[in-house]
């Protein structure tokens, strides 16, 4: 029982981070219909920037601020400079551009910061909590991770549902022509969508950094599992991203704990296929499956 609880707790913590990456992918997908393969590399860069702040003597929170700010800027710049030119081209072209960007960012990080992974501090202690003499795989820092992702989720929901800006963002993404007729500056909204997504991604990077270390290739798995989580949840649904992330986190934890740690990636495949067989457009798809 203790084992089950611990595996679940570990799954929820890693799932929260998958959810944040998935959320970033969903935001970009909703805004520009692009799967951003550079997301993992972008959050790697912003986490390196945060690490540099800490290395120079800055506090945890200053570094977090630097990561978020640089995420915002990086997202906007990427959209303007490399994604905008392919936005009206075949959509696979955008995928290849983001793949190329992924490679370039990884190489750039290696050039600037080297290949040796670095330590990144947690916001709070990573010593687990103990209940009735049993130590749990859950630390105050893990609670912070879960809380931060939940807060982002709530903030985004409020932004999209309650604010004028959110309405414009949604309009630009789903009905650009009508939005344009209504005076919404669609291009600007798309840039903002990318910036917001990169912001969420950069938060995910800082949250996961203490447990994977900071290096050019250390965040590769985040993209793969984040994407898997987004697909499980449904790429059009931010709520789906969060649920998908948590489900995937728990599934991987159980596979690792009960079956074999060698089969974790197979576990991800199995979880994904199971969900897609029942719901071909993810758990939170707006419409039913395709009729063929």
């Amino acid at each position: 029982m203790v084992r089950f609880i611990n595996l679940t707790l570990a799954g929820i913590t890693s799932g929260a981070v998958f959810a944040a990456v998935a959320l970033a992918l969903v935001l970009i997908w909703r805004a520009t219909r692009v799967v951003n393969f550079a997301q993992g590399a972008m959050l790697m860069i912003t986490t390196f920037i945060a690490w540099s702040v800490i290395d120079a003597g800055g506090s945890y929170w200053l570094a977090l601020g630097a990561a978020l700010a640089s995420g915002l800027v990086l997202g906007a710049v990427v959209e303007r400079v490399v994604v905008r030119p392919v936005e009206n081209k075949p959509h696979l072209n955008a995928v290849i551009v983001t793949l190329g960007l992924f490679v370039v960012l990884q190489a750039a990080a290696g050039m600037i910061w080297g290949d040796t992974p670095h330590s990144y501090p947690p916001a709070f202690t990573i010593r687990g909590l103990s209940v009735a003499g049993t130590w749990l795989l859950l630390s105050p820092f893990d609670l912070f991770v879960i809380g931060a992702v939940a807060a982002v989720m709530v903030a985004l929901t409020l932004l999209f549902v309650r604010t004028d800006l959110g309405l414009k963002l949604r309009a630009a993404a789903f009905a650009p022509e009508i939005a344009r007729l209504q005076g919404v500056r669609v291009g600007r909204m798309l840039t903002l969508g990318w910036a917001l997504a990169a912001l969420v991604g950069s938060l995910a990077g800082v949250l996961v950094a203490p447990s994977v270390f900071v290096g050019p290739t250390q965040f590769d798995a985040m993209l793969v599992f984040g994407f898997t989580a987004a697909v499980i949840g449904g790429l059009d649904s931010p709520a789906g991203a969060v649920v998908g992330g948590l489900l995937l986190g728990c599934a991987l934890s159980y596979v690792s704990g009960y079956v074999s740690s060698d089969l974790v990636t197979m576990g991800a495949l199995a979880a994904l296929i199971t969900v897609l067989m029942v719901r071909p457009n993810g758990l939170f798809a707006a419409s039913g499956g395709r009729r063929v």
Partner: protein, 426 residues
């Protein structure tokens, strides 16, 4: 038979024909000797291991600046294979066929190098000091051109296992190992000494998957007193963090591959600062028991470490000075010894023959197996404990074989580093 075909193919390629007469060996000119290597400069194995080749290069640059070997400068071409065996095959064939290197030196990795070892032997290219502790490089009959370097994982497992058996009799022991030849061979060695019924759980991890919570929890739940780890540095650090989370405080016995105090300190730096400051070395790694066959990078009183630090400061000051730097420079030192032994007109056959007869001493704490009909590298290790940034020796260096032979102390002390840093001429 395939080897014969390959050899025939090789001779047809030309460029290789000067091997026998000794006048024009491939890769050797009047002023240079060109050697090659495949290294993971990018990709999954780059963290940590990409520094090895930079260190070797720095040492060669140092030797070249001091006159080279027999008047020839060493040109070291190391090429990225991203730890992908297909790319290894491509870059090694390029080095051999197009760049016409004299030898392949310190090609890194078992899954990678095992795919070119037949090719190199068929082409009669010296394949020296493979950067992997697989015992498979020691097959002088099948692979006469191939020589190991580091202590193989079975030998290291035996020495660690012997220590655990003696020091922790009756204790509950757990294994935590990387699920590839590194961990599997290490466990083979451990099992030769540690009684089976003392091992309460065996957990493995897959490199690339950083979530090892499930494994560490299983070990904690089995109430292990001692955890023997065949893990790389990153996973030693991850294990330490997961154990911290579970308030699990076993004694750690870690393979020399994953116990570099400087690398571990770097990885765990942020987690130790919380406790206090001004502690020398990281409190999280103090007391880890390990085995080593080279000087520890944190042991600043050792002449070899001092030499390497000097070269590091001059040529590659931006890279962290850790176990990988010591390793890369020690390999380079040993290659310089081999090249000296091959004489003023080196040939591929001459280099291999010289190495087969060699009795090199140098940065190692134990001798090489070369010269005894074996092509294995270092034959043992010395147990030690991490204290501060250094590894404090426990007892004498030990040597053994990769089979069921005994473990015996090695009493010859490590020779001092030469004053000018260049191996004395034989």
């Amino acid at each position: 038979m395939t080897a014969a075909v390959l050899a025939a193919a090789a001779s047809a390629c030309g460029g290789d024909g000067g091997d026998g007469d000794g006048s024009s060996a491939p890769g050797v000119t009047a002023t240079t000797v060109t050697i090659g290597s495949h290294q993971p400069l990018t990709g999954p194995a780059a963290p940590g291991y990409s520094a090895n080749s930079a260190a070797s290069k720095a040492f060669f640059d140092y030797v070249n600046a001091n006159g080279g070997v027999h008047g020839r400068k060493i040109v070291y071409k190391y090429v990225d294979d991203a730890y992908n065996p297909t790319q290894t095959v491509g870059v090694v064939q390029k080095l051999v066929l197009q760049d016409k290197v004299f030898a392949i030196v310190n090609g890194l990795g078992t899954p990678t190098h095992s795919k070119v070892v037949d090719y190199l032997n068929a082409q009669r290219v010296p394949d020296l000091f493979v950067a992997s502790g697989c015992s498979c490089w020691d097959q002088p009959k099948k692979h006469p051109q191939t020589f190991g370097f580091q202590t193989d994982y079975i030998r290291e497992g035996k020495i660690l296992g012997d220590h655990v058996k003696k020091a922790f009799a009756g204790k509950r022991i757990a294994y935590f190992y990387q699920n590839d030849d590194f961990g599997q061979d290490g466990v083979k060695g451990l099992d030769k000494y540690i009684p089976k019924d003392q091992v309460v759980t065996r957990q493995s991890y897959q490199p690339g998957n950083t979530d090892i919570g499930a494994q560490v929890q299983a070990i904690a739940q089995a109430k292990a007193d001692v955890v023997v780890m065949f893990s790389i540095n990153t996973y030693t650090a991850l294990f330490r963090l997961a154990a911290l989370k579970l308030n699990f405080k076993p004694t750690l016995v870690v393979s020399g591959v994953g116990s570099d105090p400087i690398t571990l300190t770097g990885l765990l730096e942020s987690f130790a600062k919380k406790g206090g400051s001004a502690v020398e070395g990281n409190p999280l790694i103090q007391g880890i028991i390990t085995a080593g066959y080279l000087a520890s990078p944190g042991d600043t009183s050792n002449g070899w470490t001092q030499l390497y630090k000097k070269i590091h400061a001059r040529y590659i000051p931006k890279l962290p000075f850790n176990g990988n730097i010591v390793y890369g420079m020690s390999v380079a030192y040993t290659f310089v010894q081999a090249l000296q032994a091959a004489g003023p007109n080196p040939t591929r056959a001459g280099l291999v023959a010289a190495l087969g007869k060699s009795k090199f001493t140098g940065p190692g704490l134990v001798p090489f197996a070369f010269g005894t009909g074996s092509h294995a590298g270092y034959t043992g290790a010395q147990m030690g404990t991490i204290k501060g940034q250094a590894i404090v020796p426990l007892g004498q260096p030990l040597t053994t074989d990769a089979a069921d032979g005994p473990i015996t102390p090695y009493t010859t002390p490590q020779p001092p580093a030469p004053a000018n840093g260049i191996p004395p001429a034989p």
